[in-house]
């Protein structure tokens, strides 16, 4: 629930910003045609395009930062290649803001609870290791494993197991 509200707010903010960036250059163009030559008109257009690109990038990063969970294969702590960009974005954000995070490692219910507690820690440490290579200080990261004790989905299906084999990035 909280998450969907956050998503809605982010979407609203993005739409508001998009509305501004389309109207502003339009005003500029009507102003400049009277007073300035063709060359500076093209320059302004390039500037607007750059601004739009920067805004798009900001939005892409904001959207990525909304996603704080990555998933793993059975009995594995290997980070999937598709999650590298997400973790890089989080790492740079943590580094830039000086925030602290808890990396919560989890496992699915298959296998034994005590082994899974160790596996959850190994997954969280695998994420911590990658974040350090992106420049995050070790003092900004705390690793906690919950093993199979705190499932995201309490079901007993392949789908539930995939949802439970995860590391959650929790900003403090």
């Amino acid at each position: 629930m909280k998450r969907s509200v956050q998503l809605l707010l982010a979407l609203f903010a993005a739409l508001a910003l998009a509305a501004c960036s389309t109207t502003e250059p339009a005003d500029d163009t009507t102003d400049t045609t009277v007073q300035q030559d063709d060359g500076s008109d093209a320059e302004a257009e390039a500037l607007a395009r750059q601004r739009a690109a920067e805004e798009a990038e900001r939005q892409r990063i904001a959207a990525l930062l909304e996603n704080t969970t990555i998933y793993f294969d059975f009995d594995s702590d290997a980070i999937r290649s598709g999650d590298m960009e997400l973790l890089e974005v989080h790492a740079k954000h943590i580094q830039a803001t000086g925030k602290k995070v808890i990396l919560e490692g989890h496992a699915d219910e298959r296998g034994t609870p005590e082994y899974n507690l160790a596996l959850g820690e190994r997954r969280a440490k695998s994420v911590a290791q990658l974040m350090r290579t992106y420049g995050v200080s070790g003092s900004q990261i705390e690793v906690i494993s919950f093993g199979e004790e705190s499932p995201a989905n309490p079901g007993h299906t392949e789908q539930a197991w995939q949802e439970n084999r995860r590391v959650e990035i929790k900003y403090q």
């Binding site: 219910e109 034994t112 005590e114 093993g147």
Partner: protein, 454 residues
């Protein structure tokens, strides 16, 4: 065939009635066809006063259910009994021989005062007319009639309303031992974690008698509880609690409720296992970078590190001789069981069959280790004979974990998934008898069978 069906229905109804008041119910899902017939005659009740107040529980029924739950015995239906004796002089030996039962249990419950009872019960072997000579029954304590030579057990005990059920479990243990030569484990308890996600404190550490009755709460928490395990004297439980945000090991005295935090090192603190003499505790700590086995001296709290490997090392279980431990390690790539001496030295691999073996436990007799064994993607209970190394898969359920062996090494209790629910299950050491123990509320997991309780 029709007769067998009728018997099954009666048995089913009997079990239903029997489980009505248990917090954790027990359903026998796979019986043994070689279970031996025994007769438990309903006990006679004698009231102290004019107003007849029934005893709190059916003593004979508890004995019969215990014997049945061992998987080794099949109590005969009351309707099939040739006679209903209450004392040795009532016994018609030939009638019981004709029925073909290995033993006959009968007795009397006498109310001596409100809530106080004198219970007398005997066991006879209809086929052995020298049984009394081979038993520990003192001569002169029984009437001099021919039937007395068949006596295997002859007891009289004073009980009250509070220990009535427990006294019946002790009686079942005595009868089981007389019939099998193996000590009974009915007068024991099970600790387990019950999870009710809708409750304000969803995680509960509970203790119940081995038949699921008399459940009491030991500890409740908003955060997960893991890995309960009994002290060898049966007075304390060690377990892992996340109450402070991460896993830590606590020891709790059951009677007083007094708790002690014994391991709260950096990283995780897990998998406590009491040494057989109760002075030490094996545990797994990740304080030095990754999970390693340590042994804590409980008096001094001093730690000795047993393993040094970058792999996961966890789930220690003591060899009953107290000199070595088995544990799970994925140092070979996949989790397998290894053994390490308390005196130090290299770990030796113990399991070789299958790609995933974990959570191994020594049976108290030291002859077998049981473990979670992955086979075709499913996680089953398996037993490995120490001497031969032969591994036998005991269950067909697919998500088995948290194995614990009864103190007489006859049965394994474990956690599994039944449909959509997490339940406790039990299987005999040879895999031929199975029972399911679903909870009335929520899910139950992490069972730990108590040692013998005296």
């Amino acid at each position: 065939m029709k007769h067998i069906c009728k018997k099954l229905v009666v048995l089913w109804l009997g079990l239903m009635a029997y489980s009505a008041n248990a917090e954790v119910q027990i359903y026998i899902t796979e019986g043994r066809d070689d279970a031996r017939p025994v007769a438990v005659v309903p006990f006679k009740f004698e009231s102290a006063s004019e107003v007849k107040v029934e005893p709190p529980h059916d003593f004979a029924k508890i004995i019969a259910n215990d014997l049945e739950r061992s998987g080794k015995f099949k109590p005969v239906e009351t309707a099939e009994l040739p006679q209903t004796p209450n004392q040795i002089t009532d016994i018609d030996i030939d009638a019981w021989k004709e029925l073909g039962v290995d033993g006959v249990v009968y007795g009397i419950v006498k109310e001596t005062a409100p809530g106080k009872y004198m219970v007398s019960y005997d066991l006879i072997d209809p086929y052995n007319d020298k049984a009394v000579m081979e038993s520990s029954i003192p001569s002169g304590s029984y009437p001099l009639v021919d039937q007395s030579f068949h006596l295997m057990v002859l007891k009289t005990k004073l009980v009250n309303s509070d220990n009535f059920r427990w006294a019946a479990h002790i009686a079942a243990d005595e009868i089981y031992e007389a019939l099998t030569g193996e000590r009974g484990a009915f007068a024991t308890q099970i600790a387990y974690v019950q999870v009710d996600r809708l409750a304000t404190k969803p995680y509960n550490l509970n203790v119940a008698d081995s038949d699921g009755f008399n459940q009491t709460n030991v500890f409740s928490s908003k955060k997960p509880i893991m890995s309960p395990t009994w002290s060898p004297d049966g007075n304390k439980l060690a377990y892992v609690s996340f109450e402070n945000g991460r896993s830590e090991i606590f020891i709790q005295t059951i009677a007083s409720g007094q708790r002690e935090l014994i391991a709260s090192y950096k990283g995780f603190n897990s998998a406590p296992a009491w040494s057989p003499d109760g002075t030490k505790m094996a545990m797994v700590l990740s304080k030095d970078g990754n999970p390693e086995l340590y042994v804590m001296d409980l008096a001094s709290k001093r730690l000795t590190r047993l393993t040094r490997h970058y792999a996961i090392d966890t789930e220690p279980s003591w060899n009953p001789d107290g000199k070595s431990l088995i544990f799970t390690s994925d140092r070979g790539g996949k989790p397998q069981i290894y053994s390490v001496s308390l005196a130090g030295g290299d770990a030796e691999r113990v399991t070789f069959e299958g790609r995933y073996n974990a959570g191994a436990e020594f049976a108290p007799d030291g002859k077998t280790i049981v473990m979670v064994h992955q086979n075709n993607g499913n996680f089953h209970v398996a037993a490995q004979d120490i001497d031969t190394g032969n591994l036998t898969v005991l269950t067909k359920t697919s998500l088995d974990e948290s194995l614990s062996v009864a103190p007489n090494s006859s049965m394994i209790i474990f956690s599994t998934v039944d449909g959509r629910q997490k339940v406790l299950s039990a299987v005999s050491m040879d895999g031929r008898f199975k029972a399911r123990l679903p909870a009335n509320v929520g899910e139950v997991k992490a069972p730990a069978w108590s040692p013998y309780i005296l």
